[in-house]
Amino acid sequence: MGTIGEAVRRRRSALRSGLTGRFLDLGLIVVVAAFLILLATRVLEHGPSFFLQILTFAIANGGIYALIALGYTMVYGIIELINFAHGDVFAFGAFLSASLIPVFGLGEDKPFGVLPALALLGVFVVTMLVCGVLNVSIERIAYRPLRHAPRLAPLITAIGMSFFLEGALFLWKGPSNVHYPNVLPSAGFNLFGAEIGTKEIIVIVTALVLVVALALFVERSRLGKAMRATAQDRDASLLMGIDIDQTIAATFFIGALLAGAGGTMYGLYYNTSVFDLGFSAGLVAFTAAVFGGIGNIYGAAIGGLLIGMIQSFWDGYFESAWTQVVIFAVLILVLVFRPTGILGMRVPEK
């Protein structure tokens, strides 16, 4: 299909062939094993309840990254573009939902029940839809006119769109961290000495439901089939009667629904957001998408979960100042040892 894809495949087949391939795989195993042993010693030091605590945070954190990573991977899968503005759509989702919370009659530390839960659902739905429309507009304005241009052109407009959105968020709520109203109940329960909050459970369950819904949609629905076909061969899809423009727009829309949900969940969970959240969280989520195998939605879900867990475990057991370094070290290791990611393409293209 694309030149990057081909280069990656050529590289992979070169890696897989013969002793070099096995040596490199061995290298990856050694690095992972060393990390796990180091982690295990720390885990033993701190005891099981601390581990359970960190694990809960890690899964919630990973769930949010998975939702963002899905948007990167879906867009890359269909038009081979890294939508740098995607992280900013996520940040926009956090900002917008924060503003919607009072509109829907929710507020700081009010008692939580059925009615607030429904209101919160309303916040989710509106935020997701607005993010969807925003992302479709971005595609229409910045990417579609450049569909037949050299690959670098839309990449540059993607970076431009990202800066534009960041600027808009900066003008909206200023340069510093913005408090996000704490509307989820803070109650929790004790599990083997670890405090499991309602918050974590809500975040984990919501992320899981959305990922499963997306997977079912892409596997089963007519539009999902059109999306998969378009990702695999655009001309053939046209010949089958698929409206490519509509399908690509739908992909941006669905990716942004998840980013909007992710932004809302981020705010609800961490109770803070900032105008350049999309840059930092977006880069991590993009790393997650590459980690899982860019273009593969299951890969993005798993990659997001793993990157979130690596982040939380490093924060919990090691020096948090080094967390970003560790995450990008993971990206580099993946690119060196397994350029197609954990669940990279396993089938020849043509």
Binding site: R222, K225, A226, R228, A229, Q232, D233, D235, A236, S237, L238, L239, M240, G241, I242, D243, I244, M345, V347, P348, E349, K350
Partner: protein, 236 residues
Amino acid sequence: MALLEVSKIDVFYGRVQAIRGLSISVGAGEIVALIGSNGAGKTTTLRTISGLMHPAGGKISFDGRDLTQTKAHEIVRIGICQSPEGRRLFPRMIVLDNLLMGTYARKERSGIQSDLARVYELFPRLKERTKQLAGTLSGGEQQMLAIGRALMAHPKLLMLDEPSLGLAPILVETIFRVCTEINAQGTPILLVEQNASKALEIAHRAYVLETGSIVQTGTGKELLSSPDVQRAYLGM
């Protein structure tokens, strides 16, 4: 009036003209072959009829409708489907899903099961491999799948671009036999081929394309015995 009428079209790639004033027609029930060497414009002609490219001049009409500027994804709905050059399957979908992608544009869903049965009957190999990923099929099987996928659209006109390219001789026989079977069941076929002798054998009529223009036309038999065609395309 013929089912498909292509009249005096000009097609460009950027500033390079690939097709010059080309006119062809396909009537109901016919097999029409378009032969010519590499770069003559055969594939471009099919891509233009399918709406993947649009002519700068001239007119394409099908079943009395003007298709000249119709978009590719709408052309399937009007009844033209092609098995493209290079097969262009969906490599990471299984055989069955590839076939079902062919039905994407169909409004009536009722005939799908019987069409599927028909494709499996024409190509028993596909039935054996129904759960296999298309990207892992052999070249011949991929060609069968590409033709089967186009048939699943239940087209009023089937276009085949180089169906015998790169296949073992025995498979070439199979593919051409199936073409006549499909035609005998009532579907007209526009066939693009480099294998001129085979194409002319099964074609009712044929056109010879050179550097973007039709240079000769006649029935399959006439062209088979034409000295010019024999020298240029049949190696005699």
